[in-house]
């Protein structure tokens, strides 16, 4: 009884402590952005502040006025060039011209080549390839590091003790999740016989999306980048799914697309283009679903925090902060749910592509 009370007291103290640390950092983050925007326009622009927080960046904000300046890597006609992104902005975070092999300047967040007057040189900028380690890329490295540590250590534990003994430590945390992906996602959709071949792929996308979703929910340093709310990231995943689905597709899958069995020939002609479009819309819907869900969550939390700055009073936080915490809780669910749904739909598409059909049944229906 006594111990329980001490425990709950400790929890309260720790949460208060965490709140005290995290609240100023959140406020600082927004306040810095507010100052920055206000200087330019003399007024607080909600849309600009929110979009600035969800888009990719060349520097990673730590606290107050401290941030990590990530390297800029450019490939031009004169080869590769690497420099710190610090050189692209002055002390007020305004873009300035950096003289390297060419004159570089940030125009709307993107590195471009400019001429002597500081105007955009379109012809030269076409030759420019930007391979910079941006905030999203750095955050991906963090999530890959976390995944490697967690998954390799639990894999090593299986190697050491075998699968017959009870799991220990991290291993017992990972085992139910991996079994969940196998028993709830892979086997019902692909089938027990073929699912083993696709398990590594499904587990990889599941854990990659899950880790990035959770990292995106942390408002300060190790997280804070909007990786899974970036459409390029979700497009890459969707392209991977597209390739796996279409490479593993069997004859009957393609037959069902181009020459639907059991239909009149005119209907077959009519269905073929629709089914062909369906091949491409499936991964596109995967891409937009993940991107929209995560981005919408970030925008929601940010606009609730922005309420404080719209009303210009600290008392607005009495409403804004509980709502932001509530939305944050829902986002935790969404982070898991979207990883699960992406994996489940990928498994479902693979299942549809590898399914063995019984043509006799179709023919029977057609004849009667």
């Amino acid at each position: 009884m006594y111990l329980n009370r001490v425990k709950s007291l400790l929890v309260v103290c720790l949460s208060l402590f965490a709140l005290m640390i995290s609240a100023p950092s959140l406020a600082n983050d927004t306040a810095a952005a507010v100052e920055h925007v206000a200087k330019k326009e003399g007024d607080f622009n909600v849309t600009e502040t929110i979009l600035e927080h969800i888009k990719d960046d060349h520097s990673w904000h730590l606290w107050g006025h401290t941030s990590i300046h990530l390297p800029v890597i450019l490939k031009t006609s004169q080869g590769f060039e690497v420099f710190s992104s610090e050189k692209l902005v002055d002390e007020h975070h305004e873009p300035v011209v950096h003289k390297g092999n060419f004159d570089y300047k940030l125009i709307e967040g993107k590195t471009k080549i400019v001429d002597a007057n500081g105007n955009l040189d379109k012809e030269a900028s076409k030759q420019l390839w930007d391979f910079s380690i941006t905030k999203n890329v750095a955050s991906l490295f963090v999530s890959v590091f976390i995944l490697l540590v967690v998954l390799l250590s639990s894999a090593a534990a299986y190697k050491k003790t075998g699968i017959k003994t009870a799991p220990k430590g991290l291993q017992s945390f990972m085992e139910p999740i991996i079994l969940f992906v196998r028993d709830e996602v892979a086997i019902p959709n692909i089938g027990a016989k073929k699912s083993g071949k696709y398990m590594p792929f499904l587990l990889t996308i599941f854990f990659l999306i899950l880790t990035n979703n959770f990292l995106g929910l942390i408002p300060f340093f190790p997280g804070g980048a909007n990786v899974s709310g970036n459409i390029a990231f979700t497009m890459t995943l969707a392209v991977c799914v597209f390739i796996v689905v279409n490479l593993s597709a069997n004859k009957s899958y393609w037959e069902h697309i181009f020459w639907m069995p059991g239909m009149h020939w005119s209907m077959k002609l009519f269905l073929a283009p629709i089914e062909l479009i369906g091949v491409f819309t499936k991964p596109i819907s995967l891409m937009i679903r993940l991107f929209a869900n995560i981005t919408a969550g970030h925008i929601l939390v940010l606009s609730l925090i922005c309420l404080i700055f719209i009303f210009k009073t600290v008392f607005a936080s009495a409403i804004a902060v509980p709502f932001a915490v509530f939305i944050g809780m829902i986002e935790l669910l969404v982070a898991f749910l979207q990883a699960f749904i992406f994996t489940m739909l990928a498994a479902m598409y693979i299942g549809m592509a590898t399914e063995e059909h019984h043509h006799e049944a179709h023919e029977e229906v057609a004849h009667h």
């Binding site: 819907s285 679903r289 929209a292 869900n293 981005t295 919408a296 669910l333 749910l337 749904i341 489940m344």
Partner: protein
């Protein structure tokens, strides 16, 4: 005077559609659980997945509205 954009109306319409959809899913799930309380866990997880699908469609509309706004 009313100031805004057509995109905002679009986002609102999408929210109505999603609201109806999620409402139907919730109704179906609660009725199912009332009839078969022992299947509550399975119904609940299926309900959440279906709700996420409906929500995604609404978010597609929100993305289009945002793009139209920008």
């Amino acid at each position: 005077m009313v100031v805004g954009s057509v995109a905002a109306i679009g986002a609102g319409l999408a929210a109505i559609g999603a609201g109806i959809g999620i409402g139907q899913i919730g109704k179906g799930a609660v009725e199912g659980i009332a009839r078969q309380p022992e299947a509550a866990n399975e119904i609940r997880s299926n309900m959440i997945v279906a709700a996420a699908f409906v929500e995604a469609v609404a978010l597609f509309a929100v993305v289009v509205a945002l793009l139209g706004n920008g």
